[in-house]
């Protein structure tokens, strides 16, 4: 990249700035958003002083469509969460399966994954773990296998839809995937992975599930049926609008914003309270990190990775997809998956393949599935350990790694086979 002074811009300091942001984010020295804002300020200052970009250009790197989709979905999910719809459904399902340990593991796992398809991973996990721990104490069963299953399934859930996770939104928008299109590429893989994972977890935990269950006095679930129905309707509305957006070819972000406005207007909840509870750390992080990536692209700092991938794949889309899948999967073992997804997007854009659907799908799978390998890389695992300990259950963090690493390897291997079949890469 040549600056306006006609000199070639050396990308080294930009890459060092990027590395600093990643380090700050991983070390949690600051909140994620502040780490990214510091990095964005630094890289924009480098870019402007080198004449590589203007300040206006830097502002244009903020992906408004992504932010609109993210905030729209967050508002709807917050309103639905307040309606208690997920709590009611999860309680119904878990209580139905309460006296049959194997069924309970499967029901809990499925409920966790399906809840996290729509709720954030954090909200989904807190809900399921709170249910398991409150029923576990009263029912005298060991909640550890069920809570760990929940954490793993929450991490898995949300891979298959455009709104399932923030990396999905970022990749989906860049790839130009509509909601139905995204689901058609990735949802079958996610559902198949549910089956594989639950089977493996059942085999692993079956000895620990045969504990005597106390008879529980099950009272009626006390929630407002009107609120539960309202939440279900708002979810249905959002999903319908997202599908309609795909068919009528208007942006998913518009559908999400329309759903958010409807949710705020129809729910009767205090709008400002809803706004206060949104995950602004993720919103600001996403905005700032898209600026960082924009600056890196402007000075062609990520070109090296694209060239390496291109060379290693040797023109084969199957090999390039596998590389994206495994490299992004391995990277998200150590790094937050949003950093991995946002960093890989320009690399895929640079690859010279006409049909990039397998590559985008590989990135979604890789960045979503790498999260449970190590406790440090997975917020849901850490939350599960913390909640179990607060309730007096002792759990060794590395015991989850012993399950997480082989599971991640199995997921990635399964996904590679899925990609071969789904996109006819054989």
């Amino acid at each position: 990249m040549l600056s306006w002074l006609g000199e070639k811009v050396d990308p080294t300091k930009y890459l060092l700035g990027y590395a600093l942001v990643v380090l700050l984010a991983v070390s949690e020295a600051f909140p994620m958003s502040l780490s990214a804002l510091i990095g964005a300020a630094l890289l924009v200052a480098f870019g402007v002083s080198d004449g590589a970009i203007s300040f206006d250009k830097a502002l244009s790197f903020v992906d408004l469509e992504l932010l609109a989709l993210l905030i729209g979905v967050m508002v709807v999910v917050e309103v639905v969460d307040r309606c208690g719809t997920f709590r009611y459904l999860a309680l119904k399902v878990v209580r139905k399966a309460l006296r049959r340990p194997a069924l309970l593991l499967i029901a809990t796992g499925l409920m966790s994954a399906l809840t996290s398809l729509l709720l954030s991973d954090e909200a989904a996990l807190l809900l399921i773990v709170a249910i398991l721990l409150s029923l576990g104490k009263a029912g005298g069963f060991d909640p550890i296998p069920l809570a760990v299953t929940s954490a793993i399934m929450v991490n898995l859930g949300g891979t298959g839809t455009l709104i399932g996770s923030v990396p999905n939104m970022a990749v989906g928008i860049k790839a130009g995937f509509s909601f139905p299109e995204f689901a058609s590429y990735l949802l079958p893989c996610e559902f198949a992975l549910y089956g594989v994972t639950l089977a493996l977890l059942f085999l692993y935990y079956r000895g620990k599930l045969r504990l005597g269950f106390k008879e529980l006095e099950l009272e009626e679930i006390e929630v407002s049926r009107v609120d539960v129905a309202k939440g279900a309707f708002l979810l249905f509305l959002m999903l319908s609008l997202l599908v309609a957006a795909g068919i009528a070819e208007f942006p998913a972000s518009a559908a999400a914003l329309a759903s958010a406005i409807a949710a705020l207007a129809l729910s009767g909840f205090d709008t400002l309270e809803v706004f206060q509870r949104l995950d602004w750390d993720t919103v600001f992080f996403t905005a700032a990190f898209t600026v960082i990536i924009g600056v890196l692209e402007s000075v062609e700092a990520l070109k090296g990775l694209a060239l390496w991938l291109q060379g290693a794949a040797g023109g084969s889309i199957a090999l390039a997809s596998f590389l994206v899948l495994f490299v992004s999967g391995a990277a998200s073992l150590l790094l937050p998956n949003l950093i991995v997804a946002l960093s890989f997007i320009p690399v895929i854009e640079d690859l010279p393949f006409a049909d990039k659907r397998p590559l985008w799908s590989s990135l979604v799978l890789g960045s979503n599935l790498g999260g449970v390998g190590l406790p440090v890389s997975s917020f849901v695992i850490v939350m599960t350990i913390g909640a179990l300990r607060r309730e007096g259950y002792e759990i060794d963090p590395w015991s989850i790694t012993r399950i997480g690493i082989p599971l991640t390897a199995a997921w990635l291997a399964f996904s590679a086979i899925y990609l071969l079949i789904r996109f006819g890469l054989l």
Binding site: L133, I385, R390, E391
Partner: protein, 87 residues
């Protein structure tokens, strides 16, 4: 290992309030209303901080607390009934 424990504690603390809220909502939905009490470490017990932080997970302590609450509620109800009868 110590670093890992520190990280787990730090991260969980950032969501602990939300977790307690969720736990209360679940208890309430199950017909068992909860109240949240913020109890400070009593003065002079600074050296027992670690034990203090483990109390919410201590079943024996929770059973004693439950008994204490039961007795307190009975006393309050009796007092209220006496006052109502007098007035």
């Amino acid at each position: 290992m110590a670093k890992m424990e520190e990280l787990i504690e730090k991260r969980f603390k950032s969501v602990e309030e939300k977790y307690r809220e969720e736990l209360d909502l679940v208890c309430e939905a199950l017909g068992k209303p909860c109240i949240i009490l913020h109890v400070q470490l009593p003065e002079g017990c600074e050296e027992y901080r670690e034990l203090f932080e483990k109390l919410p997970g201590d079943e024996e302590f929770m059973a004693e607390l439950q008994e204490f609450v039961r007795e307190a509620l009975k006393k309050k109800a009796e007092k209220q009934a006496r006052e109502e009868a007098q007035s």
